[in-house]
């Protein structure tokens, strides 16, 4: 497939790996955090970790929107379906995220809740049009990539004056999470790895551009390379980070120039600005409350805001005591450090959020990496 296959060429990957190994200085350690779950998945799926020299370590960050969605938000969606008998629609990955009382949206569906998986928010509008006697709610999650389509459907619902459609808005912002990783006092409490740079978001940056990451380079002295999701993209970005560290630079560089500009997608930014405003604070699973890190629907569109329409309270719910997702999302621990990993917590029966989406750190390691930890034994 054009613009996909060419970025997965094995010979070029081996050549890039050799270049990284040659340029990474043996006397120092390089710790880079990849923010997006898509990068985590690419690193695990294509075996990139095995191609990197031992002193270049990739640390998985909190960049999977499914993984950072707190239990209390899923409980709200389940309550809408079970108590308000609404049709609740969301993206596929969200259905399996563990919620309170041993439930998930999938399990609530088994109890009779009308919960439906959608590919696009436009599909939810159609469900609302087809079911005028039912309340239809879209549990909208995701980073800046997924936010503009949600904004478009809210505007469309207003144009059509669709009274039975609303959105439970859980959209979160990428730069806030990176800032939190670098500054939060809780991070100091947990302990954190010294990070030498970030592999910056790919598709998020199509929308917001590369400019919002510039403060991390200037204020925190951390290099950021905006990277595409294909394996060669990720490897080139790692090489660009190694080169920045070696030369003492801390800049925002853009590897994904075929789609990302400094300014981003102005049309998408405009529609988001019209529909959404900043929340004062939002709870992230694993990170806790993060100030100005999420969006809510503006009062002008309150009729389509499920939180206002159903006066839904948000209740904070702690994660499973043994679950280490919080530390894993901050890059402090690895999936294998968690007692639940690959024992009671598996992709078929996820206990923590990192195991749910294929882009989660634990799911990626479970699927592609767990046998790498076992030393090979040669029989005589």
């Amino acid at each position: 497939m054009k613009h996909i296959d060419a970025y997965r060429n094995g010979d070029l990957a081996r050549g890039l790996a050799a270049t990284i190994a040659a340029e990474a200085k043996p006397e120092r350690q390089y710790n880079f955090m990849e923010f997006c779950g898509g990068h985590t998945h690419a690193l695990a799926r294509y075996g990139i970790v095995d191609l990197l020299p031992a002193n270049v370590r990739m640390v998985h960050g909190p960049g999977c929107p499914v993984c950072v969605l707190p239990i209390g938000r899923i409980d709200m969606a389940i309550a809408l379906a079970l108590e308000h008998t609404a049709i609740v629609c969301t993206y596929g990955d969200v259905l399996r995220v563990p919620a309170s009382a041993g439930l998930s949206m999938q399990k609530a569906k088994a109890r009779g809740a009308d919960i439906r998986m959608v590919y696009s928010p436009a599909d939810v509008l159609q469900i609302a049009r087809n079911n005028p006697s039912r309340e239809v709610v879209f549990l909208a999650i995701g980073f800046e990539t997924t936010t503009p389509p949600t904004a478009l459907v809210i505007q469309q619902a207003q144009r059509e004056n669709l009274p039975n459609f609303s959105v439970l808005c859980c959209h979160v912002l990428t730069p806030s999470a990176i800032g939190h990783i670098l500054t939060s006092p809780e991070v100091a409490e947990w302990g954190t790895l010294p990070l030498d740079g970030f592999v910056g978001p790919a598709h998020v940056s199509i929308i917001i551009g590369s400019a919002p990451y510039e403060p991390f380079a200037t204020q925190f002295n951390k290099p950021v390379v905006i990277s595409g999701f294909e394996p060669l993209d990720v490897m080139q970005s790692i090489l660009m980070l190694v080169r920045q560290v070696n030369t003492g630079r801390a800049e925002v560089e853009n590897q994904f120039t075929r789609v990302v500009t400094r300014e981003g997608n102005r049309a998408a930014q405009a529609v988001c600005e019209q529909v959404f405003e900043l929340r004062d604070s939002f709870e992230w699973r694993g990170l806790g409350e993060v100030a100005h890190s999420a969006l809510q629907i503006r009062p002008a569109y309150a009729a389509w805001d499920a939180e206002k329409k159903f006066t839904l309270p948000y209740l904070r719910v702690p994660d499973h005591k043994q679950c280490d997702c919080g530390a894993i999302l901050r890059g402090v621990k690895r999936p294998t450090d968690c007692k639940l990993f690959a024992t009671v917590c598996t992709p078929d029966n996820p206990m923590g959020s990192c195991m749910v989406s294929s882009e989660g750190s634990c799911a990626a390691h479970y699927t592609y990496g767990r046998f790498r930890d076992i030393p090979l034994v040669t029989h005589p």
Partner: protein, 75 residues
């Protein structure tokens, strides 16, 4: 969740919609967020919406750079 793929616009439709083709599969998507998209352009498709245009010149430049960076092994 963040899956987004490059697909080529094969037909522009009414109401900011377009038909795209990816590996032989045709799909109708919204181009409201990429209003400058033209017939034959590659767009990045995410949750049924084109969220950006793919710059073919930059794509070629990136591929050329990969080849250059990967030369180390040959030397």
């Amino acid at each position: 969740m963040c899956l987004a793929l490059p697909a080529r616009i094969t037909r522009l439709l009414d109401d900011s919609m377009a038909e795209v083709e990816l590996g032989g599969v045709l799909k109708t998507i919204s181009v409201a967020l990429a209003p400058e998209a033209q017939l034959g352009d590659y767009v990045i498709v995410h949750v049924g919406h084109a969220i950006g245009l793919l710059d073919e010149d930059e794509a070629r430049a990136t591929l050329a750079l990969f080849a250059e960076l990967a030369q180390h092994e040959a030397h």
